[in-house]
């Protein structure tokens, strides 16, 4: 490992373990830091307002305690962990938080966040649940409302040009993530799932221009890897919501699988879809967030009235990525009390069956304490794949 290599990867390690350190520095420089949890928050608008979007993480090593006073266990443990850390002061540098009507845990607890954390700014993005024409019109309006509201807080009117510039930066970001994913296609992959999860997690804690710079450096460094440091073993896909702690991915890789592809919020779901350019930027954002992000919280109408086509139209991206990245098996990883995924588990299982991809379904709490339980199951799954 040369000097520069150790430099970029140790920087990522440091940003990962002391999550939010760069945001704190920026806060001290007078920037406004806006926290969010879910893929449905239009980051382009936050960036265009001159603020810094910051993806809040949970911490599976920190038992949820104070957070449980205001959020009952019916709320999913990932979201409760994020809230618990906020109450305990982990994210005290935030100037605001934005919540979207993504899942029930988020929508029904917005007031709890707002009044418990009492940040200078908070906003609820009312995200429709269908893709009908009226939904798109509604969401368009909703994004304009957010644009005005945040502009008011930031003391800046957000112009179409500001938005177009931010859209450009984020599209660039998604190209770089795509380039990182390309490094997972060889067998063995050039980059491990553990490394990539760390890189993407860190990227979501930085202003987009800095994340772009960081990804460039990582790509340059990885370009020098002539040989993969990994073994040629079974190629695993992870499907699910947000896996922002590396332990699960690391566990799979420690047990002798390579995690090569995902359909996770902080993976392909969030990081790959582009925003169209050239037209009205708000409509383009509305389309990008509501239509292109394929999350079970959105109802996708099946016009064919046929189960197989229904599965294909809802989960086709899973099959697409599984083929592109030559997955040998998939792990569907769902948090307890996650309503959007919880309801959809049987349909997702049926889809995995239909594409003949062996599947391990894991329901988990958001806690490092359950790693031992997962270990046996994952080990047995890898033994089964042979």
């Amino acid at each position: 490992m040369n000097e520069k290599n150790s430099d970029i990867f140790s920087r990522i390690e440091s940003y990962y373990s002391d999550y939010g350190q760069r945001a704190k520095e920026l806060k001290n420089e007078g920037k406004k830091i806006i926290g969010y949890v879910c893929s449905f928050i239009p980051l382009e608008i936050i960036t265009a307002a001159g603020c810094v979007p910051f993806r809040m993480r949970g911490d599976i090593h920190e038992p949820i305690t104070k957070g449980n006073i205001n959020l009952e266990t019916i709320a999913c443990p990932f979201y409760r962990s994020c809230f618990d850390l906020s109450v305990k002061g982990r994210y005290d540098f935030l100037d605001g938080s934005i919540v979207a009507h993504a899942c029930d845990s988020m929508a029904r607890t917005y007031a709890v966040w707002k009044y418990t954390l009492d940040l200078p700014y908070s906003h609820f993005v009312n995200l429709p649940h269908t893709l009908s024409k009226s939904s798109m019109e509604f969401f368009n309006e909703e994004l304009n409302t957010f644009r005005k509201s945040l502009g008011g807080f930031a003391g800046k009117e957000i112009s179409d040009d500001d938005l177009a510039e931010a859209i450009g930066l984020y599209n660039e970001n998604r190209d770089k993530v795509k380039a990182l994913y390309e490094l997972r296609k060889p067998d063995p992959p050039i980059i491990s799932g553990t490394e990539l999860t760390k890189i993407l997690t860190v990227g979501a804690s930085l202003p987009v221009a800095e994340a772009n710079q960081l990804f460039d450096e990582v790509l340059e460094e990885l370009g020098k890897r002539k040989e993969s440091p990994l073994k040629k073993v079974r190629r695993i896909m992870i499907d699910g919501a947000c896996v922002d702690n590396i332990e699960l991915v690391k566990l799979i890789e420690d047990l002798g699988g390579n995690v090569v592809i995902d359909t996770l919020c902080n993976g392909t779901r969030d990081n790959l879809p582009h925003t169209d350019i050239g037209g009205d930027p708000v409509s383009a954002l509305a389309d990008r967030y509501l239509n292109k992000i394929n999350c079970p919280r959105t109802y996708r109408e099946n016009k064919e009235q046929d189960l197989h086509k229904d599965l294909e139209s809802r989960f086709g991206d899973i099959g697409f990525y599984a083929r592109e990245f030559k997955a040998d098996g998939a792990i569907l990883y769902v948090y307890k009390y996650c309503d959007p995924f919880g309801f959809e588990v049987p349909a997702r299982k049926a889809y995995f069956d239909s594409i003949k991809l062996p599947l391990l379904y894991l329901e988990d709490e958001y806690s490092a304490g359950t790693i031992g339980q997962l270990k046996t199951r994952i080990q047995a799954f890898l033994e089964m794949l042979g």
Binding site: Y361, T370, T376, R377, Q379, A380, F381, E383, M384
Partner: protein
């Protein structure tokens, strides 16, 4: 003789060992796991050798499995008990396609193909709901030996409806029923029914295909077998020594490896 192999299963409650030669069981041994798994593992091997009259030189390969497989420091290889149970059950019943293992820590269900290859599996949750632990809990409450539960349960004429297969809730529910004056056998039949319902639901989630085999320590309980037959409406296949299935499977894997 080409050489013999050993399969050892260090479970959370008891440890089992099987000596396997030429696709046949030569001997077996079971002891409580206790607190020192390494000593337990050593003891199992020692006892297996003395019972079969073999020496260490005769053992060409050893595979360890179970909750504390790592404590078997002399093992040549480790496998999860999930893989081992499938192998063991298939050896006993080549027609088995669905296998339910009733363990002390977890229950598990497997679907296997016509070559014994594993297709799917599912484990019960992290609590003791649906595991054999509930049988021990009830035995203690009723001051019976766990081996006595099955025969007594079969005598029931008026089964009590139990709301839960959870070992913790079952205890308090059982205490309440005893206070009401319910007969022991009716209470046991209710517990067996509740446990069978949990196992059945677990099996339904991977999809049941006949034949249906029940293995693991819990499958020694005649009351549970009867309850499973009633709730699934199927013939339930139970090996003569169901608690040995994982150790047997480990031994089969050991033989496959040593022959490869």
């Amino acid at each position: 003789m080409a050489g013999c192999v050993i399969g050892i299963d260090i479970g959370s409650a008891s440890s089992k060992g099987v000596v396997f030669c030429d696709q046949k069981i030569l001997g077996s041994y079971v002891i409580p796991s206790g607190g020192n798994y390494k000593l337990t593992a050593d003891k199992v091997r020692e006892e297996l050798l003395s019972r079969t009259g073999l020496s260490l030189r005769d053992i060409v390969y050893t595979v360890a499995t179970g909750y504390s497989a790592k404590a078997v420091t002399f093992a040549d290889d480790l496998r999860t008990d999930i893989s081992c149970h499938s192998k063991g059950a298939f050896y006993c019943f080549p027609s088995a396609r669905t296998v339910v293992d009733v363990g002390d820590l977890h229950s598990k269900v497997f679907r296997i193909d016509d070559k014994g290859g594993q297709l799917k599996f599912l484990l019960s949750g992290k609590c003791a709901g649906g595991s054999a632990r509930v049988l021990k809990v009830i035995a203690r409450v009723l001051q019976l030996k766990v081996e006595e539960l099955g025969a007594l349960s079969l005598k029931s004429r008026k089964r009590v409806d139990f709301n839960t297969g959870c070992a913790v809730f079952a205890e308090s529910e059982a205490v309440g029923r005893i206070a009401e004056g319910v007969a022991k056998e009716d209470l046991l039949a209710g517990i067996h029914r509740a446990l069978a319902a949990q196992l059945y639901s677990l099996a339904e989630r991977v999809g049941i295909k006949e034949d249906f085999a029940l293995v693991g320590g819990g499958a020694r309980d005649a009351g549970l077998i009867k309850a499973m037959e009633e709730i699934t409406n199927l013939d339930i296949f139970v090996p003569a020594e169901p608690h040995l299935t994982a150790a047997l499977g480990a031994a089969i894997i050991a033989e496959e490896i040593s022959n490869a």
